[in-house]
Structures are given as C-alpha cells and as structure tokens.
C-alpha cells in the first residue's frame, strides 16, 4: 500500500480576505509540527512616498494606520531633522516629548482596559460576552469607565494644545515646532498630568489586587506556554533608563547582558530582514547573531520589542514612582530579564506611570513655554534616520532625499514588525500546548489570541477588527496535509 502525501503550498499571492489566517500542520502523532500566521499587510507605502517633500512625512505617516499616529509623527519629525542635519532647540524637543507622554498615557490606558484587562481582570475562562472593557469595569468598579474616558480626554487635550489637532499632530517641522505653549496651556497640562499619575497608580493597584493576588492568573503569567527566551530591544537615555522619545537603541541577550547599543543612523548595520515563502511580511533579526529560524536562545537572532523589552534592556525608570514599580516587578518575577510574554501587560502599566510622571516633569520645566521652538535648517538635505519607541515597539523611519528634499527612498520598520518572529513563535507554542494527539482543546482560539494580543500588534486587518473579536481563521491539517478542523471567529 502506498501512502500519498499532499503537498500544500501556502501562497502569499492570494489576497487574504481581511482576516488573519493561521495554518497549523500536525505530525503523525497529531501534535503540532508547524504553524503559519498570515495577516494581510498594507502595501505600496514607499512607492506612494517617493517624490514627496520630506516634511510631509510627519503628516503622512501618521495616516499609516489609526493606532499610533503620534508615534509615526515623532519618528518622521526626527528623521526629517536628520535629513536636514538640523538640531531643534531644547524647547521644541521638550514640547514633542510632552505631547508624546500624553499620547503614551492615552494609548497604554486604552490597551490595558480594553485589551489586556479583559484577559486578566475578567479572566481567560470568562464567557466571551464579558471579556471586554465592560467586564473590566464591572470587576474594577463602576467609576472605571469614566476614568478611562477622562484619561483619554486629557491626553487628547494635550496633544491638541501642542500638536494642533487631537490625534494627528501637525506642528512638527524640520528644525522644531510651529507652535509655542502659553502659560495658561502649561498650567492646564500640568494639572492633567497630576491626575494622570493618580490614575496610573490606581490602574497598577487594580492589577495587583485583582491579578497578582489571584494564584490562577499568576500561574498563567509565569507559566511556560507564554514564555520565550529571546533578545530584547528598546531605547535608553544616557543613564540607560527607559526613554520613549530619544536615546540609543540597546539590545540585551536572553541572559540580560548588553549585546549592542547603537545610534539610530547605524540601524542597518544591526538589523536585517529574513524572508519566508509563505508571507509577504519580512522578519527582522539581529544581523550579527544570524537567522536560525523561529527559535529561542542566544544563538538565534530573533529579538522582541514591547514594554517588557524596554524594561528588560534598561537599568531602571527615570521617575521615582515608576522606578519603585519596576523594582517590585522584577522582585516578584524573579529577576531580570523577564521572559514571560504575559508580563508585558504589567510592564505596560509601569510605563503608564512613568509617562504620567514625566508628563508633569516636562510641564514644569522652566523652558517649556519659551518662544525659541525652531532652528532654521541651513544644510542640504540628504539622508536621515529617526527612531522612537512606539507603544508596541521600536519604530524606525529612514528617508533618503534629493538635494531639494524630495524623497527618493523610504524604509520603515514599525513597532509590530520587530515582533513578527516572536509572534509566530508565541502562536506556535500556544497551539502546541492545546493540540495533542490530534485533539483540539476548547478555547484554542482564545489562547492563541492571548498569545499575540500581549504584543498589542498592529496588523493590517487588525485595523478593521477588535480584541477578542479579531476575524481569524485557523486551519488544522494532519500529517498528510488534509484539513481536519477549521475554527473561525467572525469570518463569514
């Protein structure tokens, strides 16, 4: 008797219908051999930008997706400064950073209460209908919803005061800013910042009371299913403290030792992109370690960015309350670095606290209302790189222009792109733990979602979907390549 095996080609040319697709291949024992997480990507951005004036990028890139326009705006602003070889005045940098802290508070709050919160505060076994922000409000307290709305309102107010608009800032130009902060605006911003600190402390306390005090949740966080030992990357300041807006890119190895620290313009010496035949997405990895596959360990060039990574690569937080929270974090989880992916949710709250404290520091800096907000560029534009930390990871904008400042080449590595390989690995591990001997456990979809939701990913299709309700199709194939099970959520 002959056995026939089916050759399956996963063809990236077929456009996905707007939902994510995971193909899981089982071996003869019915256990997971390989998984392939495919998502539609947004295409043609470089082609779209070539020929445009570089100063347009601060407005244009904030439209790449609706999730972190402010992060793209900042990276674009810094890249344009670099292209023109101009250093903005201190006040301009303070203003940009202040806007950025307000954005971080808004974004991290929304993510925690609407995305991460439902996984923990409500509980992974809770019925689907409760696993959303309403379930969180029910558990934490009725005033929580109002506080989330208030935090977002304050954040948007600050962004509007400094950036000219509530969500898509418009005031950064090469060499600095176009808007000065008035003392009246400054006072309002300071007051809102102080409220934000209290709110961040409240959020951390809720996490401790509800999540850390619950053994089942703690087991889930520290458990092996969601753990990977990889390299970590993040921006640090001159004291190696976490900084979202500026600094050097620091990478530590799986043991927490510094592997490299580089300046933005050198990124291409350290990051390369690996190509797989089954997806258009490329997988960044550390060039000087090399691509060894979707595997953990010191010999594998896979690295992760995320709030957890930023804490792992740093020597601490630059503000006192956040520093205390940082120390408690590592003491609880057994030291640095922390490899458990679900701890990203906790790290995110520590960053929320830092962003709020730094917001007040910046708002009370004596130079924040200075009228000196712009340095006129005098040098010819050539090429430049701008790097910031987006909430979901290190964001790199690299522009090359002609002598008139019109773009000839654009390369972006967005926050989530850094994490494509870790996301594949986390998805595979979650699937492997729930599919044994050909049997698929209930809750597979949710466990897989929990795996990649911790990264707060920015997928093309994900801009059209919601947490716990991301359109997703999972195909499970046996060792002969035959489809044995199909799980779908929110796919017609």
């Amino acid at each position: 008797m002959t056995t026939t095996t089916k050759r399956i080609t996963i063809d990236p040319i077929t456009r996905l219908e707007g939902h994510g697709k995971i193909e899981i291949f089982l071996n003869e024992d019915g256990n997971v051999a390989n998984t392939y997480f495919q998502i539609p990507e947004l295409r043609g951005f470089e082609r779209f930008c070539v020929g445009r004036p570089v100063e347009e990028m601060a407005l244009l890139t904030s439209r790449i997706c609706g999730v972190c326009p402010e992060a793209h705006h900042m990276a674009a602003a810094k890249a344009a400064d670099a292209v023109y070889h101009v250093d903005p005045p201190r006040t301009a940098k303070l203003l940009r950073e202040l806007l950025y802290m307000a954005f971080y508070c808004t974004d991290h709050t929304t993510h925690f209460y609407a995305l991460g919160g439902p996984d923990f505060i409500v509980g992974p076994d809770a019925p689907v209908a409760e696993r959303n922000i309403l379930g969180v409000i029910h558990k934490v307290g009725p005033e929580t919803g109002g506080k989330v709305i208030q935090m977002r309102k304050f954040g948007h107010n600050v962004i509007e005061m400094i950036g000219g608009r509530k969500v898509h800032p418009a005031t950064s130009i090469p060499g600095g800013m176009t808007k000065i902060l008035s003392e009246d605006e400054r006072k309002q911003i300071e007051e809102m910042g102080r409220w934000a600190i209290d709110f961040a402390l409240f959020s951390l306390q809720a996490f401790k009371d509800i999540v850390l005090a619950n053994k089942a949740y703690l087991d889930l966080i520290v458990g092996d299913v969601y753990t990977h030992r990889t390299y970590y990357m993040g921006l640090v300041d001159e004291k190696n403290k976490v900084n979202f807006y500026n600094g050097l890119v620091r990478v530590v190895d799986p043991d927490g030792k510094e592997f490299v620290k580089y300046t933005a313009s050198d990124y291409a010496k350290h990051i390369a992109e690996h190509v797989e035949p089954w997806t258009y997405l490329k997988f960044p990895y550390l060039k000087n370690v090399g691509w060894k596959g979707f595997v953990d360990g010191k010999d594998s060039g896979v690295y992760m960015t995320t709030p957890l990574s930023r804490l792992n690569v740093s020597d601490g937080m630059a503000t006192p309350k956040a520093q205390a929270a940082y120390e408690e974090f590592y003491a609880t989880l057994g030291g640095k670095p922390v490899h458990q992916r679900l701890a990203i949710h906790w790290a995110r709250l520590i960053e929320l606290l830092y962003a709020a404290e730094h917001w007040v520091e910046l708002a009370t800096d004596p130079e924040i209302t200075s009228p000196n907000v712009h340095t006129v560029p005098t040098e010819k534009p050539t090429e430049g790189v701008g790097i910031v930390e987006a909430p979901r990871g290190t964001l790199t904008h690299h522009y090359t222009t002609d002598e008139k400042g019109l773009l000839t080449k654009v390369n972006l590595i967005v926050g989530t792109t850094n994490n494509y390989a870790p996301i594949q690995m986390s998805t595979q591990k979650a699937a492997s733990s729930l599919i044994k001997g050909g049997k698929v456990s209930a809750g597979l979809l949710n466990m897989i979602e929990m795996a990649f939701r911790a990264y707060d990913p920015c997928f093309g299709c994900a801009t059209h979907s919601i947490p716990g309700e991301m359109p997703l199709e999972v195909l499970i194939r046996d060792a002969d390549g035959e489809v044995v099970d199909v799980l779908k959520q929110f796919v017609d």
Partner: protein, 160 residues
C-alpha cells in the same frame, strides 16, 4: 436634531478613503444651510469614535465595507441596532473596543450619546483597501453619488 455625519476611513489607503470623499460632498451639498448638521472626517474606531458622538442626537457613519459578498460599489444603509458587532468596517478598532461595546461603556459613564436607532451606517462595498493610494478605483468612485444621495435621504434633505 443635532446631527453629525462622519466619513470614516484612511484617506491614503485607496478605496478605504471613500467615506471621506462622500462626507465632503455631503458637506458641499449642505452648503452650511443646516446649522444643526455637522460633517467630519475621521480615521478612528471603537472608543475614539464613541467619544466623537458625545453631544449629538443622531449620527450617520459613512464607510468602506469589505464583505466580499456584494458587487464593488454596492451601497447599503444599515441602522446600528440592526447590526450586531460591526466587525468589518472602521467602527471597530484592534486597539480598544467595538463600537457597540464603546457606546455601552460611554452610556454607563453618563455620556450624552445618541440612541442606537439614531445611528446609521452608509456602507460602500470595496476591495482595494490595503494598497496606499490617494485615489479611489473607478467602481468605487462611481458609487459616491449614490452614497451621497442615501446620506441626504437619511438627513431628510431633499435632493437637488
């Protein structure tokens, strides 16, 4: 009735920007003649979208829809309370909550929001929503006048 017309979508993502094109034409047609009708163009979903609705009694959302079930350019009018979850267009967002969840949260927090039966969605079936472009494809551009008429009908403003 204090009304907000919102064009939803990404203006640099090809047909994904059709909501903005329709909204701008609606605004031009109104010509400031209706003081209780405002028009806006947004690239958001979920909680952000809910927040923009605060203070209005009626909202009309205009958006590209990608079901793959209808011909390109088909225009549908749906009421929020007729739709469960709204998963395939911009009223949802990966980074916060579905619009219906966000509305529930806002109402719980005491925000002044329109009732579900006063929130309508004018949806245009589109496919080319993943490629960066500032223009609409011909089929979608051809659907704009029909979508504009549907919005004007909902607003109770008779066609010219």
């Amino acid at each position: 009735m204090k009304t907000l017309v919102i064009g939803l979508g990404n203006p640099i993502l090809g047909d994904d920007g059709v909501g903005w094109v329709v909204a701008r034409e609606v605004e031009a047609r109104l010509g400031g003649a209706a003081p209780d009708i405002e028009v806006d163009c947004l690239a958001i979903g979920g909680i952000s979208l809910m927040e923009h609705m605060i203070g209005y009694e009626r909202v009309i959302l205009i958006d590209a829809l990608k079901t793959g079930r209808y011909p390109q350019g088909a225009v549908a009018v749906l009421r929020l309370d007729e739709l469960a979850g709204l998963r395939h267009n911009h009223s949802t967002s990966a980074h916060d909550a579905a619009l219906d969840t966000a509305l529930a949260m806002g109402r719980k927090a005491g925000a002044d929001l329109p009732e579900d039966r006063n929130i309508a969605v004018v949806a245009i079936e589109s496919q080319q929503v993943y490629d960066f472009a500032q223009e609409l494809t011909p089929e979608i551009a051809a659907a704009v006048p029909q979508a504009v008429e549907r919005v004007m009908e909902l607003l109770g403003v008779s066609p010219a």
